[in-house]
């Protein structure tokens, strides 16, 4: 029953209710932040991780947006693969502003006896660069850098090539049929990022130089990019959009890939966003692990405040008001932690730019991201709330009678329904925000499911351990008996220790497995059938000669050669691809140009899963075989029509069948394989792979590379191991970022662990002192504690190994779609390390307690 008290005139309105709560909360806070160190650090660390990731990501996006013109080399860029723009297309572009052209392709730089190396060729016209600066050493005028002199064109080169082939400025290399004098080293290339990940060092030359190489043949893999610079009086975003629309209207068949300065590198931008989201989840892990620290700290705090709470209630404060007073205090402290985290996180891009500045390979403009920082603050506040509500809610029912009689350790009961409901609201809000703001909701949901599962399971493990310890027969020796009792007694350390240590070990094991699998996948154990080499740009006229050359150079090698051209999907079932919203994992197919081929027969490593392969001599309409998974993802069925633009022509073909492709072989395979009649007469080159028999060593591979470069200077040879190493370099940087963010989660877990152990030490001071008084030596007590921590650590490590392996497997096989290998050595090491840390941390604190003389404590007990 509620309401007005009998005999009471009328209850006064709750004058200044919230302000009274705030006033009392502030008075209470005068005691300082003692006991809140771990709480503050946990919240600050988690918020810092999320805010830092968001700020850096935003600074990168901002850098991309602001540097869009520089990255693109103009206001808009129009790329064609295989072919140059026709005079009419050049005229369409030229009518709107200044046009400059560059051509990029892969090639081999041959340095005589010093060997040869794969290079990323960039050929530029006289106006390069129209935006930004090309910095070379020595700093030569453009004309002097590239001009033909003494039978050799000039070139500027990435110093990496100089080192790789032991060359110096002034030396000569041959590319295709032309000689190049390396006249300068490239220090800074304004539009480098637009090229994406390169497999070789840059070789910068003039367009004339490129033409002299003879590498530009019909069908060779040259990308021609035309950069359009709008007149300064008509260069607004609206002007740009109008110009793009007009060019699309005037040259509808060009089939070029268009990028504008406002969206200079959509793939890079999307990758930043995607990776940032992933790191945000790692940051959220830190926050959730830290949440355990929050709960422990609030529980300890509230236990210490029981008398004050009871006093407040005895003086007329209703339970809900008492909870409100402490909730305000906890949230004020959380606010401080959040502010610290936000400040550190927001400062990260500024520190990064100040420390590394121009050395960063990506454009970054240190930016404050208020929206993202706000989100990080909300995450911090909701986490603090979610973990603090249960211990706070219990304050509602702290009995005043505790002031009259000695306190019996209270039973841990669920708080009242209203607090459970508030907790549910906080958790739901956390889940909703993480899912709704996620780039990939499936990943976010998996993360949430895994986190919830880990919490529930760890709670189960703790309860199970306590139940087991309770049921085990009592050992006769004192030390193990004490250890066993400590595991299950009321107020035991078991639940908080198992939770913090378990989360830490699970995270550590999962990370070590992901790390090991990524590295193994990319470097160590290539699939058995992976080729040793890829050869690009084999002219059709030399295809047979090339086969013979390879057969002679690499006897016994499996050689596969297919025609290859590049084209862009422009329409699916008559709908332009720009209007199609594809799932994230297949959107790349619609993005830019793809390698495509034609074949008479079903390629090796493929299997028809629907429809039929065409007759070898098929003459009817154009047919295409589509990769099954991607086809289904795009909503394609047999008989549907797709349109690709190849060499400036839109070609429509009907889907004759779906293939399942064994991508992991890294062999030659294509999303789309057309019937040969589709491209009859179209100029193209060939792509070949050579798979050496077992045991091919580096020397043999180098010899094949050298010979091939000598005989077929126009053919680009890519050693698969080199390419994978280049990818591995990028992956290493990603792994580093993941490790960085995860370190924060691990730091939070160690902090929580240390906090839980410290709380435990206070609780067992009594035991230690009484036992010492009764004659227990420090050694014996220490043995008991070591047994306790060891048992808990080992049991939790076993759980962490299983749970971490499961999480690692889930992430590697489902999210990364890679083969999973249980590389347990790293995982075991991680788990063992965690156990050692636990025992050491535990014993360290205990030793301090044991070193105290009992008398002063006994007086106060």
């Amino acid at each position: 029953m509620h309401g007005t008290l009998p005999g009471e005139p009328a209850r006064r309105p709750a004058r200044g209710g919230p302000s009274l709560v705030l006033r009392l909360a502030l008075r209470e806070l005068r005691a300082g932040l003692r006991g809140f160190g771990i709480f503050l650090t946990c919240i600050a660390l988690g918020v810092m991780a999320i805010a830092g990731v968001a700020s850096i990501s935003r600074s990168l996006t901002e850098g991309l947006a602001r540097e869009g013109r520089k990255i693109l080399g103009g206001d808009a860029a129009f790329s064609l693969i295989h072919r140059e723009a026709s005079p009419r297309e050049r005229a369409v572009l030229g009518a709107r502003g200044n046009v400059s052209a560059i051509a990029t392709m892969r090639g081999m730089a041959i340095a005589g006896e010093k060997g040869s190396g794969l290079v990323e060729i960039k050929a530029v016209d006289a106006s390069y660069p129209t935006v930004g600066d090309l910095v070379t050493e020595p700093d030569l005028p453009r004309e002097e850098l590239f001009v033909e002199r003494d039978g050799a064109f000039g070139a500027a080169v990435d110093p990496v090539l100089l080192a790789r082939l032991d060359l110096k400025i002034g030396d000569r290399v041959t590319v295709g049929g032309a000689a190049f004098e390396l006249r300068a080293a490239i220090r800074s290339e304004p539009d480098k990022i637009a090229a994406g990940i390169g497999f070789g060092p840059r070789l910068l030359m003039s367009l004339e130089g490129l033409r002299a190489t003879g590498l530009v043949q019909p069908g060779s893999l040259v990308r021609w990019t035309y950069r359009l610079d709008l007149p300064s009086n008509a260069a607004s975003d609206a002007d740009l959009a109008r110009v793009e629309a007009a060019i699309a209207r005037d040259a509808p068949e060009a089939g070029w890939e268009v990028r504008s300065r406002v969206n200079a590198d959509p793939r890079f931008a999307r990758n930043i966003e995607r990776f940032a989201q992933f790191l945000t989840l790692v940051g959220l892990t830190a926050l959730l692990v830290g949440g355990v620290g929050v709960a422990n700290a609030v529980r300890g705090f509230m236990d210490g405040k029981r008398d004050t709470i009871a006093t407040l209630k005895s003086l007329g404060a209703p339970g809900s008001q008492v909870v409100a007073i402490y909730l305000v205090q906890v949230m004020l402290i959380a606010g401080l932690g959040i502010a610290i985290g936000l400040a550190l996180g927001a400062a990260l891009p500024f520190v990064l730019v100040a420390a590394l500045g121009g050395a960063l390979p990506v454009p970054i403009v240190a930016t404050l991201a208020p929206g993202e920082l706000g989100l990080a603050a909300v995450y911090g506040a909701l986490t603090a709330l979610a973990f603090a509500l249960a211990p706070l809610g219990r304050a509602h029912d702290v009995p005043v009678s505790g002031l009259f009689r000695d306190r019996v350790d209270p039973e841990r009961r669920w708080p009242r329904k209203r607090y459970v409901a508030a907790l549910a609201v906080a958790v739901t809000a956390l889940v909703l925000i993480s899912v709704l703001t996620a780039f990939d909701r499936r990943v976010a949901l998996t993360f949430i499911g895994a986190a919830a599962g880990a919490f529930v399971l760890l709670r189960g493990v703790a309860l199970g351990l306590m139940a087991l310890a309770r049921r085990l027969p009592r050992p006769r020796r004192a030390a193990p008996r004490l250890a066993l009792a400590n595991i299950h007694r009321p107020g035991a350390l078991t639940p908080s220790l198992v939770l913090s240590l378990g989360l830490g070990i699970t995270l550590l094991v999962a990370l070590s497995l992901i790390d090991a699998n990524m590295r193994r996948q990319l470097t160590q154990t290539l699939p058995e059938k992976a080729p040793s080499f890829f050869f690009l740009d084999i002219p059709s006229s030399q295809a047979s000669a090339f086969d013979a050359h390879l057969a002679a150079q690499a006897p016994g090698a499996a050689i596969q050669r297919v025609p290859m051209m590049r084209g862009r999907l422009v329409a699916i079932k008559g709908v332009p691809v720009g209007q199609i919203k594809a799932a994230d994992d297949i959107a790349w197919v619609l993005d830019g140009d793809r390698g495509i081929t034609y074949a008479q027969r079903l390629p090796e490593g493929s299997k028809i899963v629907a429809g039929d392969w065409w007759a070898p001599e098929h003459r009817g309409g154009n047919l295409v075989s589509f990769d099954e998974r991607i086809g289904r993802g795009l909503g394609l069925s047999l008989g549907d029509e797709i349109t690709v633009n190849v060499l400036g022509r839109n070609i429509t073909a009907r889907i004759a069948n779906f293939r399942r492709v064994e991508w992991r072989n890294i062999g030659i395979n294509f999303v789309m394989v057309f019937s040969p009649n589709t491209f009859a007469g179209a100029p193209h080159t060939h792509l070949a792979t050579a798979t050496l028999p077992d045991g091919a060593d580096a020397a043999r591979e180098a010899a094949i590379l050298r010979e091939t470069a000598k005989v077929f200077p126009s053919v680009t040879s890519v050693r698969v191991k080199d390419a994978l190493e280049a990818v591995n370099g990028v992956v290493s940087q990603l792994v580093l970022a993941i490790r960085g963010a995860s370190t924060i989660a691990l730091a939070a877990s160690v902090l929580v662990l240390a906090g839980a152990l410290a709380a435990g030490h206070r609780a067992r001071l009594y035991d230690a002192v009484v036992l010492k008084t009764l004659g227990a030596t420090r050694g014996r007590l220490l043995t008991a504690y070591a047994l306790e921590y060891g048992a808990l650590g080992l049991a939790t490590a076993a759980f962490g190994l299983v749970a971490g392996s499961l999480a690692g497997w889930l992430i590697v096989s489902t999210l990364m779609q890679m083969d999973f290998t249980l590389a347990l050595s790293g995982a075991f090491l991680a788990a063992a390390l965690a156990v050692v840390v636990t025992i050491s941390l535990g014993l360290l604190g205990t030793w301090r307690i044991l070193s105290q003389k009992p008398a002063p404590y006994l007086r106060n007990l």
Partner: protein, 229 residues
């Protein structure tokens, strides 16, 4: 309005669970008149403190009725009970239980603030002056002696002008001299305000100062008689 400040009718109360459950108050019926001073005495474990807590609405009986200042406490929920205590009952504890983070003035103002009184601080100041601590307003509990802390606690208990004052061994943590002055203060304030006083004590001299002594043994009223001077 009834002339009884407190009335207990056949009150039974057990504490603990399962095998540890103990029947503490057994069929207790008694009443305390307005303005009366009653001492609860008896050996340890006889149920004195529990009876006091039941009178203050801090323990709910398993059966029976508790009427305080005309209000049946069983009809109030937790929050209503808290508000009732804040206005009608002042409690003085053996261990003072001042809020350590608040000054003497803030401690005394606390029940008034919780009751929504606008003039909480001036009234608290007056109460502290009345108990002789006008010069200690901004001191924290840790800066006060035991006797001073108990004076602050008494000022805090009396500040909302409660009809009933309950005290649990108010001199238990004080030396004899200080205890004596605290008892003088308590009785003086009771007299001035016309409040009802119920206190638990082991001290026969303190019990003798009450109008009436109720002796408990094993949860039952063993004797209920006017105090002998």
């Amino acid at each position: 309005m009834t002339d009884k400040a407190i009335a207990l009718d056949n009150v039974d109360l057990s504490l603990g669970r399962g095998a540890a459950r103990v029947h503490i108050l057994k069929s207790i019926s008694l009443s305390v008149g307005r303005g009366e001073a009653v001492g609860l005495v008896g050996p340890s474990g006889s149920g004195k403190s529990t009876l006091l807590m039941t009178m203050a609405g801090l323990e709910r009986p398993d059966s029976g009725r508790v009427l305080v200042d005309g209000t049946d406490l069983s009809g109030l929920d937790e929050d209503a009970l808290a508000r009732f205590r804040g206005r009608r009952i002042g409690i003085v504890f053996q261990s003072f239980h001042l809020v350590p983070t608040m000054t003497a003035l803030e401690n005394v103002a606390l029940p008034l603030e919780l009751a929504g009184e606008a003039d909480a601080h001036p009234r608290a100041r007056a109460e502290l002056e009345a108990v002789g601590l006008g010069g200690r307003l901004s001191h924290y509990p840790a800066q006060l002696s035991g006797g001073e802390q108990q004076r602050v606690a008494i000022a805090r208990a009396i500040a909302p002008d409660p009809a009933i004052l309950v005290a649990d061994e108010p001199t238990g943590n004080l030396d004899e001299g200080t205890g004596g002055s605290i008892v003088d203060l308590l009785f003086a304030l009771k007299r001035d305000r016309g409040a009802t006083l119920v206190l638990v004590t082991h001290d026969p001299s303190l019990a003798r100062r009450c109008d009436r002594t109720i002796r408990l043994r094993s949860g039952r009223v063993e004797a209920d008689a006017p105090a002998q001077a």
